[in-house]
Amino acid sequence: MRRIHYAWIVAAVTWFTLLAAAGFRSTPAVLIVPLQHEFGWSRATISIAVSINLMLFGLFAPFAGGLMERFGVRRVVVGALLTVSAGSGLTVFMHQPWQLDLLWGVVVGVGTGSMATVLAAIVANRWFVQRRGLVLGALTAAGATGQLIFLPALAWLAVNMGWRTAALVVASAALLGIPLVALFMRDRPADVGLRAYGATEADEPAPPLRNPVRAALGGLAMGARNRNFWLLAGSFFICGASTNGLIGTHLIPASIDHGMPEVTAASMLAFIGIFDVAGTMISGWLTDRLDSRWLLFWYYGLRGLSLLFLPYAFGMQYFGLFLFIVFYGLDWVATVPPTVALTADTFGRRNLGVVYGWIFASHQLGAAGAAFAAGAVRTYFGDYQLAFMTSGVLCLLAAGLVIRINRTRGQETVAAAPLPAASY
């Protein structure tokens, strides 16, 4: 019997880490109301912490990519878990809004940001040559689904045992993760005397040794000169805006506005999370086989159409919403594997971590912006229609962006253009 390739163990550890990190990240969402009750802080005040958290979750990613190149994946992840644990645990003692901003916003944001999808991208690319798309899909699904599936349990804890218990549970979960990572995580296949899964001699990447901040900024500079970078970052901005920012934050209140009980509304998000696992796994599998631009084109196109359909779905009661959940859930983060694959194709696997870090930062900027904007729209318009329709239109725009990405580097060109080069 052949021994299982160590890459799979690393992938499994990473999977749990990402799931947990995502859960930690989304915790503040269920604390909003309890904190409001205890301290009398306004929603706007508390939302600032959530916004900081969402932003840093993304903005810190490129630097985390640089840090991992420099200090190794294992050390960075252990450090991040410690940071999250400290940030979450210390909230028990807070009594001022700025402490909330600092702890849940900055500390937890940086901690979880260091374990975000950059980690997934780095692990998948260092450890896998074959099955890379599939692994990336699984890791990404963990990161996205983790933001949804823990919410009911955390909310239950916060309501029945107090928000401090919820915060302490998060802190201890992060601490528990440390031995797991320390024991099983390895930085590179070479550390355990292996090649990446399915790799041959020619695939071996040279280990880069660079200053993390310089590396991150260098990645930005390298990206900014490339048209594909802007197309990817632009479409990913829209991706973040239309998922985490809009639906993740506002679907529940919107459903309540339309007369749905809160529990039903919350389980809708959970269902989206479940369909998302399926969708992202399938997407990873497809990414190994098909042109990533086309995958993205269809994902964004369908997501856009389902968002445009949403205002009508509310009028059709449960059937309409069910349709929405299926279509929308299936490509909640299905966009990630093809986006990573395109980034790797354009910039090479060596630079993937830092460049993708910036693209992901754009994702989180979109998310933070949309979370805030949709809330403002709701306050001002008394209805989410405009927010849903705008993001639907934006997704269609993203479909148009991704299809205009140029293919580079050793990929076979698909069906040659039937028409002579024209200006459309």
């Binding site: 196109g301 001002y380 405009l386 329709m389 698909v414 039937p418 024209a422 200006s423 459309y424």
Partner: protein, 380 residues
């Protein structure tokens, strides 16, 4: 993409009709009452949604005395009244009909005795139940929209299916741009129709966007963006070219929901008739513009067929919108139609003489007139 048209059909509002007009009210216009009633009730020709407050009642001292936003119940719109004072009250109503068209109007009634009307008033000179500037902006927005539709979908369809020549494809890009200019203009037209002073007012704009009008506007912008996405995708996937006429048909259906309903026909038939008229327009006008860039012998037949379809569907629409022939002379809608017909005739003549540039010019003029036509309330 093929499902787009079907999806669009499923999304159509239930009862599209024409601009809502006031048919009755309590208190009646001009009535003199002993005491102020608790509410003002207005009755319309069709179900309405309030725009902004829906009903604003101004007391004899010029102060707003109605409470909040009016409640709509089918064809009835109701608002509660606050203060009581003798004198003349002005009731201003602003509503959106099922077909997203705006309309507004004013009536007065008195308590005890009449007095000079003090509220802000509508300023008079309303054409077709909206402010004059609103009507102009609406027409302009529709004109650009029709031109964008023709270039975006018609020219691309010609390039891909008739000429097999990619050169006119850049017209499609221009069409997308026109559509994206037209839609914001339509939004401002909507707010200006209710009150020109509030054209850029945040509350007015938000209320317009949150209405059925906002939905249609969203779908229109979405269609334009989707067209742009497909234009990019075509280079690698020639089979996707079918989605361009399909998407054009879907947008024509969306447009049909925002054109005048035809109460005499079952709703889906009316929509199809309207969508057919718009699609044929796109094929002829857009094809003609593309023909100027890349002539192809096949165009003559296509143009003849679309012209034929336009005449038949146009005639049917015209019949459906008039209750009796006299109305052609007595209504603004009829007069504008009378301007449209000779222009159509001129276009047909120029087409026959193969004077392509002049034919195109005549058609652009027809589009302008059609844009005004759809902005006016039809007699039926």
């Amino acid at each position: 993409m093929a499902g787009t048209a079907g999806a669009a059909l499923a999304l159509l509002p239930v009862a599209a009709s024409a601009h809502a007009q006031l048919v009755g009210s309590s208190p009646a216009p001009g009535a003199v009452l002993a005491t102020l009633p608790a509410t003002v009730d207005l009755y319309f020709t069709e179900p309405v949604t309030p725009a902004g407050r829906g009903i604003s009642v101004y007391g004899p001292d010029g102060r707003l005395v109605s409470n909040g936003t009016a409640r709509a119940q089918g064809v009835q719109l109701t608002v509660g009244l606050g203060a009581a004072m003798d004198g003349t009250y002005a009731v201003i109503w602003t509503v959106i009909a099922a077909d997203t068209h705006p309309s507004r109007g004013e009536i007065t009634f008195s308590v005890g005795h009449s007095s000079p009307v003090r509220g802000p008033g509508l300023g008079g000179g309303d054409v077709g139940l909206v402010s004059p500037i609103g009507l102009v902006l609406q027409s302009l927005g529709r004109w650009l929209h029709f031109a964008g539709f023709a270039l975006g979908f018609g020219a691309a369809t010609y390039a891909l299916f008739v000429a097999g020549d990619p050169r006119p494809m850049r017209l499609a890009g221009a069409g997308v741009a026109l559509l994206l200019v037209a839609e914001p203009l339509a939004l401002f037209a909507q707010t200006a129709s209710f009150d020109p002073a509030q054209t850029f007012d945040g509350d007015a704009l938000t209320s317009a966007l949150a209405s059925s009008f906002g939905r249609v506007l969203g779908l229109r912008v979405a269609a334009a963006i989707l067209l742009w996405a497909v234009l990019g995708a075509l280079r690698q996937a020639p089979w996707l070219r079918w989605s361009i006429p399909a998407l054009g048909g879907a947008l024509a259906l969306v447009d049909a929901t925002a054109a005048h309903g035809t109460p005499a026909l079952p709703q889906p038939l009316g929509l199809l008739l309207n969508a057919l008229h718009v699609s044929a327009m796109g094929v002829w006008v857009g094809g003609l513009a593309a023909f100027a860039i890349a002539p192809s012998g096949g165009f003559g037949r296509v143009a003849a067929w679309s012209a034929g379809l336009l005449i038949v569907s146009g005639a049917a629409l015209a019949l459906l919108h008039f209750a009796n022939p006299l109305q052609v002379m007595t209504t603004a809608y009829g007069e504008i139609l009378l301007v449209k017909l000779p222009l159509v005739g001129a276009a047909l003549y120029l087409a026959w003489r193969a004077r392509r540039r002049w034919e195109l010019a005549a058609l652009v003029a027809v589009l302008a007139v059609a844009a005004v036509l759809v902005s006016l309330p039809p007699p039926r």
